[in-house]
């Protein structure tokens, strides 16, 4: 009886701790998101306002004509989606080759790929900047798609490789007996089976491109700048700006939030495999 009460108290304690962890994780974002629905008067109130009349003013404001946020949003979407699709496609091919076909030297290739992941992006910025200013790729969408694609390939290949390794080898044997070539086997049988893996890998590729500032800041300006560049330039000292900054934060966070919840199931498995296994 006493034991039961004790375990109830322990349960309650753990519940409170979990609640505290969720609050700590979400509060800074949540408070900024709430702020984006406040009017300028409510935003600069000294006493934090938890109850207020919500307004879409800030969202209308950032999208109205003299602030071309729509273009930056468009840049972000094009750059992130294109680099993600290409990275996952290249990585699936490479991961399959490393997991199953294993051409001569595959071990060396996979190790070198992992090693490139260690490189800080800041090392490649200056050479890329110089190359772009000579070729007119500076401040273009493709100018960001390329480095994001390259930076994502190592992790994506490693993740896809571990998903392919987990598939039963009999599948391919059966397919090849049925007269299926490597290419057909890969596209018709293997790739659809790794759909969860592809989803998890896409998430990681997408957030790298969607969130990055280090490369976007020097390589783009008014034409191809994605959202993080715009957000980083927000004039945050002025109190009245905070509603608008909150609105930009909302736009940057919501796609990631939806994507994360959608693939959460595969994520723990995916990342655990991608980074820890072997």
């Amino acid at each position: 009886m006493k034991d039961l009460r004790r375990s109830k108290i322990a349960e309650l304690f753990i519940g409170v701790m979990i609640f505290a962890a969720i609050t700590a994780s979400l509060f800074p974002i949540l408070w900024s998101v709430i702020g984006s629905f406040k009017s300028p008067m409510d935003i600069i109130s000294i006493k934090p306002k938890f109850v207020f009349r919500p307004t879409l003013e800030n969202f209308v404001d950032i999208f109205s004509s003299n602030r071309p946020l729509l273009r930056y949003l468009y840049n972000s979407v094009i750059i992130s989606v294109t680099s993600t699709v290409l990275a996952v496609f290249f990585a699936s091919l490479a991961g399959y080759s490393l997991a199953r076909i294993r051409p001569r030297g595959y071990n060396f290739i996979s190790l070198s790929m992992v090693a490139t992941r260690v490189l800080p992006p800041v090392v490649i910025i200056v050479p890329i900047f110089l190359f772009y200013s000579n070729t007119g790729l500076l401040d273009t969408q493709i100018g960001l798609i390329l480095p994001y694609l390259a930076l994502n390939i190592p992790l994506a290949t490693w993740m896809m490789r571990s998903f392919f390794i987990d598939l039963p080898e009999e599948l391919e044997e059966a397919a090849s007996i049925d007269g299926c070539g490597r290419l057909a086997t890969f596209f018709i049988i293997i790739l659809p089976l790794t759909a969860p893996g592809i989803a998890a890998t896409s998430l990681f590729c997408f957030i790298l491109a969607w969130n990055d500032l280090v490369l976007a800041l020097p390589l783009t300006s008014s034409n191809a700048a994605p959202l993080p560049v715009v957000a980083s330039m927000a004039r945050a000292e002025e109190g009245l700006q905070w509603g608008r900054i909150g609105a930009i934060i909302c736009i940057m966070v919501v796609p990631v939030f939806v994507f994360t919840l959608a693939v959460m199931k595969f994520m723990i498995a995916g990342l655990a495999m991608g980074s820890v296994k072997e």
Partner: protein, 305 residues
């Protein structure tokens, strides 16, 4: 006859293998490896990019010796190392606590995990902006409650500037540590834990003797990955403190960016970038060796007894 057709098939398969690898490998060679070596070359040159007629001029190790004798650069190394050590320490500690909490069976398990792990998915820029907002001196919610307790903290002055960039980093990436450690905890052999419990081992004993040694690989992964990523930090100080006040938070990332794109000292910027690589390797190696040694000593001790 059969043998030769088999070897022919193998040859074709080899070719397919390389064909499958080609897009990824070529992209890496062109977009990562080539710039990497260009950067190494530039680090041995002096080149004023703004002077349009000039070309990179080979100066040997000049850039490196200049950096290592420049107090501003040395400070930037020091503050980066401090930043990495403090941030990674707290990420590991808090991440372990959170991982233990959410590794239990509970209702809405996946949703709770997703919510707690969410900060690592958002942009550094967003994290920094959120911290600026809640720490705003006049109408920030944190200062409002601190004032109620009679505290008046001025965020961003020379003493607190370092603190806020560390806080933003710890807040954002503790979730990465938690995710990796969670994966480790979920893979624990439950039989051993149950057996220990039956033998009367308390929670703390079980944690120290069974759980902690079992998730050591994951702890190492957290340390390695977090060192690798926090050492590159750029966005948080750029948005939160802009490297200031008076360069107090000018970590290597900011230093390199300024050298390259404000002063156009491309040689020194690239030398700094390469020193950043060397530093991260050195830090990672130190921790890997430290942890391995500890394990050996524990083993020795248990052998003796």
């Amino acid at each position: 006859m059969a043998k030769s057709s088999l070897s022919k098939m193998k040859r074709i398969d080899q070719r397919t293998g390389y064909l499958f690898l080609a897009p990824a490998v070529i992209t890496l060679l062109v977009v990562l490896i080539a710039p990497l070596f260009t950067s190494l070359y530039l680090s041995f040159t002096k080149w004023n990019y703004l002077d349009s007629g000039s070309k990179p001029e080979f100066v040997g190790l000049d850039n490196y010796t200049k950096i290592l004798s420049n107090p501003y650069d040395l400070y930037s190394f020091k503050v980066t190392i401090m930043y990495v050590l403090v941030a990674v320490f707290f990420q590991l500690l808090l991440g372990l606590g959170i991982a233990l909490l959410i590794s239990r069976e509970m209702r809405a398990k996946n949703t709770i995990r997703a919510l707690i792990l969410f900060p690592m998915m958002i942009s550094d820029v967003v994290a920094a902006l959120c911290f600026r907002y809640i720490l705003h001196p006049d109408f920030g919610i944190v200062n409002y409650y601190l004032r109620i307790f009679g505290l008046n903290v001025e965020w961003g002055n020379p003493t607190t500037a370092f603190l806020i960039i560390v806080m933003a980093e710890v807040w954002q990436n503790t979730s990465f540590a938690a995710l990796i450690l969670l994966a480790g905890l979920l893979g624990l052999p439950s039989e051993r834990l149950e057996a220990a419990q039956v033998d009367g081992a308390g929670y703390f004993q079980r944690f120290w003797h069974i759980i902690l040694p079992a998730i050591k690989p994951q702890i190492l992964v957290v340390i390695i990955f977090r060192i690798m990523f926090t050492i590159r930090v750029f966005a948080q100080p750029w948005v939160l403190t802009a490297g200031g006040p008076s360069d107090r938070t000018s970590v290597l990332g900011i230093n390199i960016y300024r050298r390259a794109f404000r002063y156009y000292e491309l040689g020194e910027a690239n030398a700094l970038a390469w020193l950043l690589i060397v530093l991260s390797m050195a830090l990672i190696l130190t921790f890997v060796l430290l942890l391995d040694q500890r394990e050996d000593r524990v083993k020795e001790r248990s052998n003796v007894s």
